[in-house]
């Protein structure tokens, strides 16, 4: 897939020549993101370590299938590569889904909305003292929640939304920005992320177990352990090292996220201690929790899949010049274009 970095063009083309080609909205997206396949796939511009993640997984599995499977199929069962293959497919699918799905980015407010909100903030402040910082308080489940005003996106952030400085976007139900998958983890791709780390834990444990079994079996069939390792030195050592370190970190991460899922928390909230008993002063300070582990898990992982709010593949209205401020949508909606944009399908 070809990579086109986002660069809004400000100058209009020469009058008299052919009109500028119609552009899709992703081409003028204000956040720090990269788009592929004409807007179907989205990635953070800081995709950092994603290639390394892919290489690690593919190399380890490749070594496993090449060196360990033939031996184990002969001595144990043919299901070893089958299980390995299924796990590998699951891990790759989850990883790609996590990386290339819109995490729940909130599009920035249009100029009219921003002006309207500014007006409301100004009229509520008094002239005798400095206006308070831009926060709004809401009551959710008898709990006071402060909504902050985002200066970049020019809107009050919904609850559980946070602004990612790396991607320069507000993301709904923001969990964290994961450099390993090269994207933020938020409302729309959390379930993919969770599947990824859980299946990766299974995969690494499985490979680790198989390699240990391989070495044990070899040393049992007459060869010593040292000889067995010497037979296929690179692959065994590499697999063992990678799997050993991965297991500790990935299993730990899976356990942590299982706890988060069960209590309907995000990493962001947990780190900040937003709902910890010390600050809230009661047992369950989290107003979003359903107070039942099963319901929390089901709501987070099996809840309805919300749509992408940034209409990446919609067409930009040709009459409107691209404004200097960070706005995304057309000023006046036209029904024909709106229907077109929705019919084109907004699959993430």
């Amino acid at each position: 897939p070809r990579a086109l970095s986002v660069s809004p063009s400000s100058a209009e083309s020469h009058p008299g020549k052919t009109p500028p080609r119609p552009r899709r909205k992703w081409e003028v997206f204000p956040g720090k993101n990269r788009f592929f396949c004409d807007g179907r796939l989205i990635l953070s511009r800081q995709s950092g370590v994603l290639p390394m993640t892919l290489v690690l997984i593919v190399v380890t599995c490749g070594l496993f299938f090449t060196f360990d499977c033939p031996f184990l199929v002969k001595h144990l069962t043919v299901f070893i590569p089958v299980i390995g293959g299924v796990l590998f497919v699951f891990v790759m699918a989850s990883l790609l889904r996590t990386s290339f799905t819109d995490p729940g980015i909130l599009p920035r407010a249009t100029a009219d909305e921003a002006a309207d909100i500014e007006k409301q903030i100004d009229t509520s402040g008094s002239s005798s003292y400095r206006p308070p910082p831009r926060t709004k308080e809401v009551l959710i489940n008898q709990q006071v929640v402060k909504l902050k005003y985002c200066f970049t996106c020019k809107t009050f952030r919904p609850p559980r939304t946070s602004h990612c400085s790396l991607c320069d976007n507000c993301v709904e139900r923001f969990d964290h920005h994961c450099p390993w998958v090269g994207n933020c983890v938020g409302k729309r791709n959390y379930r993919f992320f969770y599947s990824f780390i859980v299946s990766l834990s299974f995969l690494t444990s499985f490979i680790f177990g198989c390699v240990i079994a391989h070495l044990t079996l070899r040393s049992q069939t007459g060869e010593s352990l040292i000889q067995a390792i010497q037979e296929s030195p690179a692959s065994t050592v590499v697999e063992l090292v990678i799997c050993f370190f991965s297991i500790w970190s990935i299993l730990g991460l899976s356990g942590f996220h299982t706890y988060l899922v069960a209590s309907n928390l995000t990493t962001n909230e947990d780190i900040k201690g937003s709902w910890s008993s010390k600050r809230a002063g009661e047992e369950h300070g989290n107003p979003y929790s359903y107070n039942s582990i099963i319901t929390n898990c089901c709501a987070t992982l099996c809840g309805p899949m919300p749509p992408s709010l940034i209409d990446r593949r919609g067409w930009l209205s040709l009459e409107e010049p691209i404004p200097a401020a960070s706005t995304l949508e057309m000023e006046l909606p036209t029904f024909a274009e709106k229907n077109d944009a929705e019919m084109r399908g907004d699959k993430p």
């Binding site: 497919v89 699918a93 989850s94 599009p107 009219d112 809401v138 009551l139 809840g303 899949m305 749509p307």
Partner: protein, 158 residues
């Protein structure tokens, strides 16, 4: 229907925009999508309070239906998980189906209720579900509609 559609076209192309009213989100029930039913003062002499509240309440009920956690959403979730989430690429989720219903409802409301009164609803999905935007156009019947803010954008430019 053709006559009403023609009326809507008039709004878009020839009427001049007076102001835009933004109905904000109501977060009292959590992160579920809901809009405040408080009647904005700018619409005081443009539309009946009951009609406006009816629209917002119906929209809210649609969103509750879309985000309902129940049998169908579990089925969707488990099926998708079992197919390594490839199923999501092929099928239309329940949320998307409800969103289509919502845009149909908004179109119908615009044609029947809002356009004849010189107002236009914008589907919240086009504003990132942040606001329900109501464009207020010049009221051809009365002399002036006393806008609170003076934003005059000609609707039919270029």
């Amino acid at each position: 229907v053709w006559f009403q559609f023609h009326n809507l076209q008039d709004l878009r192309h020839s009427a001049s925009l007076v102001t835009k009213v933004f109905i904000q989100r109501d977060y009292s029930e959590g992160t579920v999508c809901r809009f405040l039913t408080k009647f904005p003062s700018e619409l005081d002499n443009r539309i009946e309070r009951s009609l406006f509240e009816e629209t917002v309440k119906t929209l809210n009920s649609y969103y509750i239906e879309a985000e309902k956690i129940g049998g169908q959403s579990y089925l969707e979730g488990c099926l998708a998980c079992a197919t390594a989430y490839i199923a999501f690429l092929c099928m239309e989720t329940r949320y998307e189906q409800v969103l289509k219903k919502i845009s149909g409802y908004i179109q119908e409301q615009n044609e029947k209720v809002y356009a004849p009164r010189g107002l236009l609803l914008t589907d919240p999905i086009e504003r990132g579900m942040r606001v329900l935007e109501i464009s207020v156009f010049e009221d051809q019947g009365s002399v002036s509609s006393s806008p609170s803010s003076s934003m005059s954008l000609a609707g039919g430019s270029a």
